[in-house]
């Protein structure tokens, strides 16, 4: 197998541009000399992952200056959510990051539950873990498929989307929809887990490691892939921390940090998994970290299914009629249930006054949700800490002295989802 021997060492110290940390300014003498060519990369170029605009100053093929311009997909989710009752607002976060939708839903639901002090049944907790790990696999498959496609490995795209469809089939089976499932409710799950899900999920868990072997066979020692990714888009450990990076980008730069292990939520302290950490800080290592994470996620899903099968017949949502919709069949026989149903759907429930910042480890890193409640039926303020937003702050540092041809590879490795960046 052909390998690329020369691997540049990761730089030490800092390369963050100054005075503006997110804009690399071309040297003034270059600008005056007239050797610079300013190119608008995007906002509508097909390989910018949505509508990202990069203003690039080129000196020949070398990037001398770069600044990212975002906001083209701003939809005002946070403002809209302030107008909706808590119950209705759960629908919105999923649209923010449309690739890892369940994490956004999860983090908002967790925030509501913590403000309410609501106890969630264990079946719901384990199912949330199973679904969100499936979502992580889905998200990483989209990343690997599209970023390999952009570098020219078209076949990867088809292989990844083959398995991605299997994940979506599982989502469809459980929730009735393939994306934007709105399956998590404050208090638990919207419906019980359907029959046949465990068997299908198990089959998927057997198949997925073999599929990952296939991807690795295509890419890991592929000479073109390695030439295009090894030593490209460097980000040192110190810079990654200073720029607030999280998730795979942070772990590829040698920081051993994963919220699932270090600040466990749901039941992550009861499953076994490893946190892959690499030290190259380049595009290749970011790819490798995500590949290893998919393996770990498959293992977590299998453990969740095992536990869930023991919980047959247990409740999937908390029994708190002030917050949770009553079972559908009760509406025909019970007056109280009808009243509760009507009250929750029209007015919503009241959430105690307070502010809270909840974080989960999304496929892109630390996804945070800051929620303020005034004790009324609608959120006073919702703010999402979008990991992609922070990841794109690192573009100027990663692309210092890169060639224009590597720009797409580097943007791809940061794995920004523009819906989340612009919210």
């Amino acid at each position: 197998m052909a390998t690329v021997e020369r691997r540049p060492r990761l730089y030490e110290g800092t390369r963050i541009p100054s005075p503006i940390p997110t804009v690399l300014q071309a040297p003034e003498e270059l600008r005056r000399g007239g050797d610079l060519l300013t190119v608008n990369f995007g906002p509508n170029h097909p390989s910018t992952h949505g509508v990202l605009r990069l203003v690039v100053d080129l000196e020949g093929e070398r990037i001398a200056g770069i600044g990212a311009v975002v906001g083209y997909l701003h939809t005002g989710f946070e403002k809209t959510m302030e107008q909706k009752t808590w119950w209705k607002a759960i629908t919105y976060p999923e649209r923010i990051d449309y690739v890892s939708f369940q994490y956004n839903e999860l983090v908002f639901v967790l925030a509501i539950e913590q403000l309410l002090g609501l106890e969630v049944p264990r079946k719901a907790t384990w199912m949330r873990m199973a679904l969100s790990e499936l979502n992580r696999i889905h998200s990483h498959l989209v990343y690997i498929g599209t970023s390999a496609l952009e570098i020219g490995a078209i076949s990867m795209f088809w292989y990844c989307f083959r398995e991605r469809d299997l994940v979506l089939d599982l989502f469809e089976m459980v929730t009735g929809v393939r994306m934007h499932t709105r399956y998590f409710q404050a208090g638990g799950l919207a419906e019980d887990i359907p029959m046949g899900f465990y068997a299908d999920a198990r089959r998927f868990c057997v198949r997925m490691p073999k599929a990952i072997d296939e991807y690795e066979a295509i890419l890991d020692d592929n000479r073109i892939w390695r030439e295009r990714t090894v030593g490209i888009g460097l980000l040192s450990r110190e810079d990654a921390i200073a720029l607030g990076q999280s998730g795979p980008i942070l772990r590829a730069s040698g920081v051993d940090w994963d919220l699932r292990r270090d600040q466990p939520y749901l039941a992550y302290d009861q499953v076994e998994f490893e946190v892959p950490v690499l030290h190259g800080g380049d595009v290749y290592d970011r790819y490798r970290v995500r590949m290893d994470e998919m393996r770990q996620s498959t293992g977590i899903v299998a453990q969740c299914i095992e536990r869930l099968e023991e919980m047959q017949g247990e409740p999937w949502i908390a029994d708190d009629r002030k917050v949770v919709l009553p079972p559908r069949e009760e509406l025909h026989t019970s007056m109280e249930s009808l009243i509760h149903h009507f009250k929750i759907v029209t007015e919503g429930y009241l959430v105690p006054e307070g502010e809270i910042y909840v974080t989960v480890e999304s496929p892109r890193g630390e996804l945070g949700c800051y929620v303020v409640s005034d004790g009324g039926p609608k959120p006073w303020r919702v703010k999402f800490r979008a990991p992609s937003f922070v990841a794109l702050e690192a573009t100027a540092t990663c692309m210092r002295d890169a060639a224009i041809a590597d720009l797409v590879a580097i943007v791809g490795s940061l794995d920004g989802v523009m819906g989340e960046v612009d919210r």
Binding site: I16, P19, I20, P21, T22, V23, V70, G71, H74, G76, E78, K79, Q83, T85, Q114, L115, I241, A242, L243, G244, S246, V255, W257, D262, Q263, T346, E347, G348, L350, E353, G354, E355, I356, Y357, T359, E366, G368, Y370, V372, D374, G375, G376, P377, K378, W380, R381, K383, R385, F389, V390, L392, E393, D422, R423
Partner: protein, 181 residues
Amino acid sequence: MIGYDAVPGLVETREAFGETTLEVDPTRLLEACAHLREEGFNILSDVTPTDYLGWGERGVAGYIGTPAGRDLNAPGSQGYARRPHPKPKRFSISYHLLKLDRDPRRVRVQVWLDDGEPVESVVSIWPTADWHEREAWDMMGIPIEGHPNLARILMEDDWEGHPLRKDYPIGGEPVRFSGEE
């Protein structure tokens, strides 16, 4: 447990929902942040401004309709069980810090501001604050003093108003690029 008593400009420490909030004097924010950075809070997770205009003025539960009649989009009895505690000023801006090491810890640094009252930029301490502070300016109109590039980030450069303020109208914005132009 780290003590936060040594944080410069500390006004109040609050514990709620398992989180620690340090309320800091806005004029000494930079000092306080530098101190916490020295204590090991190496990651700035998020900067979240909030507008509290009209806080506590929602109708109380049981009240039906408004003086203008009933609005079907806002059912009349939507309201509090009890009124929330008043806030000291109109805006709050919170900095969510993370101490990323073997003994992880989170803390929220909060300052209170009136409309137009500036707050110092923390870009010199955490470079990641760059875009977060631009967003705070763009969405809430909080002037950030000493920011190297305080431009709008999500809205267009010539946009008027700050959309996440509570007094920003919902609906009825002028339509851009209409047929009349």
